[in-house]
Amino acid sequence: MKKLLVIGVLVGSLFAQEAVLPLELDAWKALSYVGAAKSVDELSTATLKVAKASYVGLISTPKMKYVIRPMNEGGTVSYGGMFEVQINESGIYRVVLGNASWIDMTKDGKPAQSIAHSEGPKNSGIRKMVDYKLESGMYVLQLSAGADNSSAILVMKIK
């Protein structure tokens, strides 16, 4: 029986569809863990680096004290978190996310307006991609109204 199961898994894996990621999403494959900040005080330990994908732990929404009130706050049973992101060069940036959390990219207490939304390639584990036109400076990336207590995330410059 066990042998049959092993054979089944092997055969299944042969036919399993692997995502074909475009070159610019190559960084998505290598994740390092980052815990989210639940308040401004914790932001310095929750840093995302541009072009480096992270696996982030998120926090129960009632514990969150966001820098600015998220557009979509999420209910008591949802998850969120905050991260600092240093943008060194002005341009178009894409936030690539493994779950459907609401994203607010904020600077000096104001949210940046998103300019495009898209989905990730099939079977890539990418749930959504949101683009922003950003000036250089320190940003606070807020995730809110997430269904899970973790997600993968990548901030990358696309133009």
Binding site: N72, G75, H117, A145
Partner: protein, 324 residues
């Protein structure tokens, strides 16, 4: 005789006072329901995993529509239809893209909350969880008590959906550039918009179905071929899905054009990405002959239906954190 007249007059004044008091009380209750409904509209705890509120799909800045073709549900189930506007929704008899016998907005709101075709907020079978979540919240305890004194402030789907209905009925959009011009008996500001208005109400016959002032006749029409492609794995037969009558296949209610420039994409399945696409999708004899210039002019007119005061009205926006 005098005594009888005195008694009748006294009774009359007493009744009048009682009537005035009843009206005042019902006004107070209705205001409390609007306030509660407003907060509930933005409440993500109405969804199974706390990720979706009504406002997640009905965004004020987009005229209470959504920028997606269709919006996935809280559990990532595929959406079925493009999010319709809620502008003036209280004035419609037929609600949603294709339903002809919903008793009102309270009943309609059950579809996103606990519907299964498609699953949106995912609360089917978890209705008690809503009462549990909201019942623990002091603000909601206070608001439900004020809005439903006879029901002793009970939190359940009945009271909750009544409050949502009260709030949604206040979503009135009647101050667009077009409305302002009409009220002041003035012309629309640009020549294109004025020419577009003439076409809309004249040769192009748009007004036949998109009838002013709602810019919808609140009626059902079939304006596409019967055998449409299945999008997202969701077969959509329109009104047929409710009535089961063959003649209702692919029949949809005319959408309102209020704030239409803010609410792309269009069509019941969101398949028209621009206003131009949406106009061209009408497989009707009347608009097959529209030239590019005429299309541009009609779109210029449609742009005058955007209502800045509606999309920026704080009474419809996210409620304050403070419970008031």
């Amino acid at each position: 005789m005098k005594q009888l007249i005195k008694t009748v007059l006294l009774l009359f004044f007493l009744m009048e006072g009682l009537y005035a008091e009843t009206i005042k009380n019902s006004d107070t209750i209705e205001k409390a329901r609007v306030k509660l409904g407003h907060r509930l509209f933005y409440e993500a705890d109405l969804s199974i995993n706390g990720t979706m509120a009504c406002a997640t799909c009905h965004e004020q800045r987009r005229g209470f529509c959504d920028g997606n073709r269709v919006h996935p549900g809280a559990l990532d189930d595929n959406g079925k239809r493009n999010v319709p506007t809620l502008a003036n929704v209280g004035k419609f008899k037929n609600l949603t893209w294709s339903h002809d016998h919903l008793s009102g907005l309270a009943e309609q709101s059950l579809a996103p909350i606990k519907g299964t075709d498609p699953v949106e907020m995912g609360m089917n079978g978890h209705e008690d969880e809503i009462a549990k979540r909201l019942g623990q919240n002091e603000c909601y305890q206070k608001l439900f008590a004020a809005a439903f004194p006879q029901e002793k402030g009970v939190v359940n789907l009945g009271t909750l959906t009544q409050a949502l209905e009260s709030f949604e009925k206040t979503l009135i959009s009647e101050n667009s550039i077009y409305d302002q011009a009409k009220k002041k008996h003035k012309k629309l500001p640009t020549k294109d918009a004025r020419d577009g208005e003439k076409l809309f109400f004249g040769a192009a016959k748009c007004n036949n179905c998109h009838t002013a002032p709602l810019f919808s006749d609140d009626a059902f029409h079939q304006i596409q071929p019967k055998n449409l492609k299945v999008y997202n794995g969701m077969r959509d037969n329109g009104l047929f899905d409710v009535t089961g009558n063959e003649k209702d296949k692919n029949v949809f209610r005319t959408p309102s054009l209020r704030n239409v420039a803010l609410s792309l994409p269009y069509w019941h399945d969101g398949s028209a990405t621009t206003l131009q696409d949406a106009i061209k999708k009408h497989k009707l004899k009347t608009n097959n002959k529209l030239s590019a210039v005429e299309l541009r002019k009609i779109i210029a007119f449609l742009n005058t239906l955007s209502d800045e005061s509606f999309i920026n009205n704080p009474q419809f926006g996210k409620p304050s954190l403070e419970c008031k």
